[in-house]
Amino acid sequence: MSALYERFERHDHGRGLKAQATHYCPGCGHGLAQQYLAQAIEKLGVQDRTVAVSPVGCAVLLYYYLDVGNTQAAHGRAPAVALGHKLAHPESVVVSYQGDGDLASIGLTEILHAAQLGIPLTVIFANNAVYGMTGGQLAPTTLLGQQTTTSPRGRGREMGQPLRMAELIAQLEAPVYVERVALYDAKQRVRAAKAIEKALRLQVEGAGFSFVEVLTECPTHLGLSPVEAERWVKERMTPVFPLGVKKDVAATPWGPWPEPSFDPEAVLAAVGAEPLADGAAPARVHALPPAGELGFKLAGAGGDGAQTAALLLVRAAIDAGLDATHIPSYGPESRGGTSYADVRIADGQVLSPDASAPDALVAFNAPSLARFGPAVRPGGLALYDGSVIAAAPALDPSVRLTGLPITGIARELGQPLVKNVVALGALQALTGIFPEERFLSTIREALRKRPALVEVNAEAFRRGARAAREA
């Protein structure tokens, strides 16, 4: 079966002669390159597996002709689109066919990254040294001195120098095969057809990324007859774009490709979902004020563990059947700067997650206490680390201002990092938001993967609680 349609129904609805004629100008090299591609698809028997990606440029209508799965890409993006296809269905054979403006100018990023990624794809690059579809402008591969509509006096070096794509791609590690071929005589055409077939075969075998640059003729914009254009490519282009194999290496074939799993158990395990405890809904054991909502601010320097403590508080609340939210905010310094956490816990749904006027503040350093202490709601709690804050500022008299040696207790335990858990223990004792056991089981669970740390954290919690009760 031919990989070219016998009638081009997409070409002007297959009306008249267009049903069997291409849209290319007389003598255009695209017609040859794409026939060789079709022949390679036939020979390799992959017509049913092939997806061709049409570029923007004169070859934009490739999908009129190739009887394979077809996609049309934005200007320059064909290799990115091709990768999307390949990764979606690795068994498909994906070919990106692009011209010089598309591949070497606007799409340079896409082609280089696709090439160096190395995943099996085949790119056919038609280089005719000029923009065809837009009417003969300067291309990235236009020769120095060559006249185009945007280099009317010839390309000077202030317009940049021609890009040698085959050489550029060949010096990357990942591609397995790179060759530059031409179409100007019978011998070159045979080579071109063979190169295209080889490039496609390497993909079918899973070897890797392959790239064939084809020097094609654009008689129209060279202002030459097709036969003169053949000569021009031979005499003018090949000195700048030498023909030949630029890279041909053996590589470990790609694959086997991962098979997407939709097994519900696997999906739930991957996202960390766990069965309901005892198959029953968790009990709602808590002591929230009648308003049904509490706000907490935990504040310190980066490294004080305010965020971790906030997350433990949230987890404990949710384990207790409540709703809870946490929002972190960090100072401008990315390391060691300020680190504040807003936590809200509600009986129903947390409305606003913001805790700018918290019911309870935990301050790990003096700036945090100075900044947030005054914001604590009347009747609320301001707990601070007395080991590091020598003198607390005066706050609203209704606020319970409580300093405890939080860092000191952690140091006594030989584990200064657990000071945030000491603070949680104290917070629990001072507010009675949950039964102590609720917190402890949340801590145990959070440390499931580091069992060695469970005991010191549990002890930190208990010591914090005890210090608060004794204060």
Binding site: T71, A73, R77, G84, P260, G272
Partner: protein, 459 residues
């Protein structure tokens, strides 16, 4: 293909010969000469062929750029007999399946992570993205979790590459997604226009940050206008979902995949930097999705070989028809997909309108206003496009004023005003609380504005 062995002599199909002359030179037997007569069908001058000395070498056939001008004899007969095929009939769709799962313990997740989990539960196994704060944590979680599910994570060369990977993957019929943030979203717009034009599904989670330009990484609702009015060039619209909680980050991301395939469209999930970082309780849905394969897809198999994913329609009339079909689709989406949460709106005289993080602060404000005896409610669009005017309209009889609360320069208010105007509704006063630059409206300023507006309209 040096076909030097004797083979049948070539056949010239004159109507299709463009007279380029490339075959002339290659014939060592001088069988081919430039022609002189204009072909009345093509208007071109085909070559003339005298095959007396022809040895069937085939070099002329290999030199001809036209596939069907100079051909082997057998093919010529087939080509002459070729009739227009029956219209291409793609195979039936393989529908997506929904698999029930037992109830699980709620997770505690930040917004970006909840969104990633939602994508996995919705059957997404392909992620493409470019790191950008504050969206990257979602991508990082996908990078961590996808391998265990046989999925693919590709860090793209840029946002431009990202959207085109999605175009390819979606065109192949597979669900794919990205996480990005405002500057990255801007870069994706060209590709989104192509996706809309070619009707390719894909999910974009945009964790918005402050602009313009590089702006900063603080939360701003900076892309509401882009998402609702500016999805690239041309006649472009796509569903835009606006979650306000980590739970909705999961639910709406999963919903986005459903909508993307139901309507063959990209879908935008607009979050903000605040919501992306917000951790909360997230209950898992009781169903997972196993994606199917749409009939229009181009997966690279025999059944779908005749399919084409393309936004190019050269004929103006065809392009216009395509646009009318898109408009018809937008109308269907508008009719079926308006979503909103109404909080204490039943008897509200003052309706606060807000989405994303500002909606949560506004919700707290509503509660406080109610405690003061002000009959306030919150209208929270969950779809910003289509704007849920259907859910708002019934409130307009009682409501005397609207207060739009947003972290932008009025992008939500513009959507609201446009929707009201299209619906022919002229409500009372519309005021706003707006913050910009990474600052969210605070409860205090919402309360102050609401109190004074309420007092004013009561007079």
């Amino acid at each position: 293909m040096a076909r030097m062995e004797a083979r049948p002599k070539p056949v010239l199909r004159e109507d299709w010969c463009k007279g380029c002359g490339r075959c002339v030179e290659v014939c060592a037997r001088s069988c081919i000469a430039p022609g002189e007569q204009v072909n009345p069908g093509s208007g071109l001058v085909p070559i003339s062929l005298r095959l007396d000395d022809c040895n069937g070498c085939g070099l002329c056939v290999d030199a001809c750029p036209e596939p069907y001008a100079l051909v082997a004899a057998g093919l010529a007969g087939r080509l002459a007999a070729a009739r227009p095929p029956a219209p291409w009939a793609p195979p039936p769709e393989v529908p997506a399946e929904r698999v029930p799962v037992p109830e699980r313990r709620p997770l505690v997740l930040k917004g970006t992570h909840a969104s990633a989990v939602g994508a996995l539960l919705a059957g997404c196994r392909h992620f493409f993205g470019y790191p950008i704060t504050p969206s990257t944590e979602g991508a990082e979680l996908m990078a961590k979790l996808l391998p265990a599910l046989g999925g693919t994570f590709l860090q793209a060369a840029s946002e431009v590459a990202t959207v085109n990977h999605m175009y390819g993957c979606g065109g192949a019929g597979r669900p794919s997604m990205t996480f990005t943030s405002s500057p990255g979203f801007s870069l994706m717009l060209e590709g989104i226009s192509y996706m809309i034009g070619a009707e390719v599904p894909g999910v974009f989670v945009d964790v918005m940050r402050a602009g313009p330009g590089l702006g900063n990484i603080g939360p701003e609702q900076s892309d509401l206008k882009l998402a609702c009015r500016g999805l690239g060039h041309g006649n472009t619209h796509a569903p835009v979902l606006a979650p306000a909680t980590p739970q909705e980050m999961l639910d709406f991301t999963a919903l986005a995949f459903e909508l993307a395939f139901r309507y063959r469209t990209p879908v935008v999930v607009l979050a903000d930097g605040h919501l992306g970082q917000m951790t909360g309780k997230v209950s898992l849905p009781r169903e997972l999705a196993r994606p199917g394969l749409p009939s229009w897809a181009v997966p690279g198999d025999a059944a779908h070989r005749g399919n084409l994913v393309c936004s190019l329609l050269l004929e103006e009339a065809q392009q216009e028809r395509h646009n009318l079909a898109l408009l018809e689709k937008y109308a269907r989406v508008t009719a079926a997909e308006q979503r909103a949460e109404l909080f204490r709106c039943d008897d509200a005289e003052l309706v606060l309108v807000a989405c994303n993080s500002p909606a949560r602060t506004a919700k707290g404000a509503v509660q406080a206003l109610r405690a003061e005896g002000i009959r306030a409610g919150l209208f929270r669009p969950q779809t910003v496009w289509p704007f849920p005017i259907r859910h708002l309209a019934p409130l307009l009889g009682r409501a005397r004023a609207i207060l739009v609360v947003e972290a932008s320069d009025g992008q939500l208010e513009d959507e609201l005003r446009l929707a009201l105007s299209h619906a022919g509704r002229a409500p009372g006063e519309i005021r706003h609380v707006r913050r910009l630059g990474g600052v969210l409206p605070a409860e205090g300023e919402i309360l102050a504005a609401a109190r004074s507006l309420s007092a004013e309209v009561r007079q």
